[in-house]
């Protein structure tokens, strides 16, 4: 067990590799209750969210969610978030555990006094469980009458799950696989019962409980950002390559002005790329990236062996003239340069189901 953003969480239950492969080939269960939940209610909700969230929440239909981020006025990251539209007057933002307090204070300070919106921190009210993998739907279907096949990717609904009415069931996740996240009351008895029922339901499909270790290797293969690594207070939207999740150029939001100025002055000087080690060695978080001549030119934001691809992969910031796939660089691994090459991301993309 380790301290993750103030929460006592398991790194692994049976082994990172086994858990990772369970999610890629069967189904895995994660307790992600450490995530924060901020509710916006009232007719002024959308207006407030449009200010602090970079993506365009006006494009959401009821029952739809979108990946977004909150930016500082200088265009760097407060946090990345998931915005869910419950109704025209009701939105849920799911935020990271490590930045929960900061995010809530940021939101209150920026839009807390806006007309017609009430913002509350619901984080402690929800236990959030993620069921991820090709058999996730089969597993969850045993515990609910809700037609899960009708929920499209990044959409959600409510239903009775494990006998709990009004459970939020979202087809979202942080693994690069199909899967669901459910939000249930956070009391221990309910949480334990739901966990056990999901464990039992998934047994026939090979379900394994999964910890932070597999959570990290899975999201890394899918090239999904982790706050404090790929995105942070020092990194701007263009550097992180997440412009497509913003309404930049279409409408204003906190950080947009600074970003437009960055664009006008030639764009970012460094960008996030995927790396694959060519020589023997594992690139890890914080390791320096070097040119082949040995000059330090960047750094690794996240790096690890990839259990599914059986390669050593990393995400790293490098100068913009080094971002072309195939570019050869090196990573300083405990004092020695080890060759790597830039590769396209994501490293792993799940096979698309063919339509029936």
């Amino acid at each position: 067990m380790v301290d993750f953003g103030g929460w006592d969480m398991p790194v692994e239950y049976s082994g990172i590799t086994a858990e990772h492969m369970a999610v890629r080939t069967a189904v895995g269960l994660f307790d992600v209750s450490h995530m924060g939940d901020i509710q916006f209610r009232g007719p002024g909700s959308l207006a407030a969210i449009q200010v602090i969230s970079m993506n365009d929440a006006s494009r959401l239909a009821v029952g739809q969610a979108q990946y977004s981020a909150m930016l500082y006025p200088q265009g760097t990251f407060v946090d990345d978030i998931l915005v869910h539209k419950f109704s025209d007057n009701d939105y849920l933002l799911v935020i990271n555990a490590g930045t929960r307090e900061k995010d809530y204070q940021w939101i209150r300070s920026q839009v807390g006094s806006y007309a017609g919106v009430h913002i509350s921190d619901y984080s402690d009210h929800y236990t959030q469980l993620a069921i991820q993998g090709p058999r996730a739907q089969d597993t969850l279907a045993k515990l609910t009458r809700t037609d899960l096949s009708a929920i499209k990717n990044y959409w959600f609904t409510w239903g009775t799950v494990c006998g709990l009415p009004n459970t939020l069931i979202a087809r979202t996740g942080y693994t690069g696989e199909d899967g669901f996240e459910i939000y249930i009351p956070s009391d221990e008895a309910t949480s334990e019962r739901a966990w056990s029922e999901i464990m039992d339901a998934g047994k026939e499909f090979g379900l394994l409980p999964c910890g932070l270790g597999a959570r990290n290797t899975l999201r890394l293969e899918a090239a999904m950002a982790l706050y404090g690594h790929e995105i942070s207070e020092e990194i701007n939207l263009f550097e992180a390559g997440l412009e497509r999740f913003s309404k930049l150029g279409k409408s204003d939001f906190l950080g947009a002005q600074a970003l437009l100025r960055v664009k006008e002055s030639g764009g970012p000087k460094r960008k996030l790329v995927g790396l694959e080690m060519i020589e023997r060695g594992i690139a890890r978080d914080g390791y320096k990236v070097l040119s082949l001549e040995g000059k330090p030119i960047g750094y690794v934001t996240s790096g690890s062996p990839s259990p599914y691809l059986k390669k050593n992969i990393a995400l790293a910031y490098v100068p913009v003239d080094q971002i072309a796939p195939g570019t050869e660089l090196a990573v300083e691994v405990r004092g020695n340069p080890v060759k790597a090459k830039v590769v396209p991301t994501p490293f792993y993309r799940r096979a698309k189901k063919t339509q029936a």
Binding site: V11, E12, I16, T17, G213, T217, I282, P305, P307, R334
Partner: protein
């Protein structure tokens, strides 16, 4: 897990079979590391010094330094570990990493016995 009585142990969780000069890591070490994916070992002919780092072992989540239990010269390196490092996980006490020619054959006797090491591990896990 029984720790072989003929081996000697260190508080850094290495074992040495003094008779053959074989060095490895203990079952406790492999279980805390998790799936081992990479082992970095010295070349044949290099010297190792008691208490100093001679290589490293990496699992998916972390890197751990390897500390030499004795002073001497590396006479053989287990080549299998370059392609099958997971052997350490399945049989830590039966998978050696390096063979050392001890500068002082008696040095190994100063290390922990199997019983003392087992006691040490029990204290660590409290």
């Amino acid at each position: 897990m029984a720790y072989p009585a003929t081996y000697r142990y260190t508080k850094e969780h290495e074992w040495i079979d003094a008779g053959e000069g074989k060095v490895g890591i203990t079952d406790y070490a492999q279980s805390t590391l998790g799936d081992i994916v990479f082992v970095d070992l010295p070349k044949v002919g290099s010297s190792v010094e008691k208490g100093k780092v001679f290589g490293s072992v990496e699992s998916v989540k972390a890197v751990s330094d390897l500390y030499s239990p004795v002073t001497g010269t590396v006479v053989e390196v287990n080549e299998e570990l370059a392609t099958s490092p997971e052997k350490i996980n399945s049989d830590a006490h039966g998978t050696w990493m390096i063979k050392v020619k001890l500068a002082d054959p008696a040095e190994a006797q100063q290390l922990l016995s199997a019983g003392d090491y087992e006691t040490f591990v029990k204290q660590e896990t409290h």
